[in-house]
Symmetry: C2
Subunit: 199 residues, 2 copies
């Protein structure tokens, strides 16, 4: 019987997950709460029970996505069965499959919100920067392991290279959405891995 009793957090999570899926496809400013509520069949009153405002909802979504994506990154970048650079390639492979699964309609939530940042609540900016910094830290750590492993030249600044990676990766995800295929992701990783790291 207990299985039938919905926990209050279940509805909250359902809302966050639905909001996350929508915001990987489209912008925050143009997304109405009503369309999300309709999709998950939750009345407006319940929404305001869990979230103070649309801004509050957006913050929960960014935090949820940041954690979800960090876990995905770790699955590749901490996989010690692979060499450090092969882990980056592994991340690319999984990310490409993830985009394929949704016919390249869904991109990166952080990239989408970053693009429309001038229209968004101020609280989003620092949260998005913090999220990118976290992913960059993970990438820089992997690149430093590549240096130890002699896959990457010692003189390279891994923090800067990690930032370069995310700048380019966000651009590649955006272009893959535009082209509706994986070619931009493949071109990016092919240029990034050999020219910067295999030397």
């Amino acid at each position: 019987m207990t299985k039938l009793i919905k926990k209050p957090n279940e509805t909250k999570e359902k809302l966050i997950r639905a909001g996350t899926a929508i915001l990987t496809e489209q912008g925050f400013a143009s997304t109405g709460i009503d369309s999300i509520l309709k999709q998950v069949k939750v009345p407006k009153g319940s929404f305001y029970y869990y979230f103070e405002s649309k801004e509050d909802f957006g913050i929960s979504i960014i935090k949820y996505y940041a954690q979800y994506f960090a876990k995905k990154l770790d699955q590749s970048l901490l996989n010690t069965d692979l060499s450090p650079l092969a882990r980056i390639y592994d991340f690319y492979k999984h990310a490409t499959l993830g985009m394929k699964k949704y016919q390249f309609r869904r991109g990166c939530l952080v990239g989408n919100l970053g693009q429309e940042i001038t229209m968004l609540p101020d609280s989003f900016r620092s949260l998005l920067i913090e999220t990118l910094n976290d992913w960059q830290y993970k990438m820089a750590t992997c690149l430093k392991e590549a240096q130890k492993n002699e896959e990457l030249a010692k003189h390279i600044n891994c923090e800067e290279l990690a930032e370069f990676f995310w700048i380019g990766w966000e651009g590649a995800v955006m272009r893959a959405k535009l082209m509706k295929n994986e070619q931009p992701l493949t071109l990016f990783i092919k240029q990034f891995l050999p020219s910067h790291t295999f030397m």
Copy 2:
């Protein structure tokens, strides 16, 4: 007296210019025609005299921006007073000044629309791809001159490198908007120019 008579095209151009400025800051889906009309003080009837629909207006804006940006690119990439790679650096310097001028609120219209492509009319997709291809062609031509000039290794595929440039550049512009400073643009060009081309 003739100076006082407004040509019909003047209003059309005014609308396109205002629309362009707005769409470098924010998305198409969330931008209402009314707010643009209010800004340029043009009645709604006049808008529909010049444009069949919001989609038609969007197409005119993309075409206008594509031409405007291509001219800016040519000013740097065809400047024979500079070496081919110095021309790319010159483009970066001008683009950075352009973003600074608007406190990093305005980014690339093609990047903005590319990010929200799943919500936009189908006609936009091919036009945005075409525009990026044009910019890539200009960049590839400059990179080939760099090869002739022995600034760039002969084995490098200039078309692929030009595509890599635009993928990363769009990512850098987006990040500069997010950070509200030029650091991502500088980091990108610093990584792009030496590691891919100075060898």
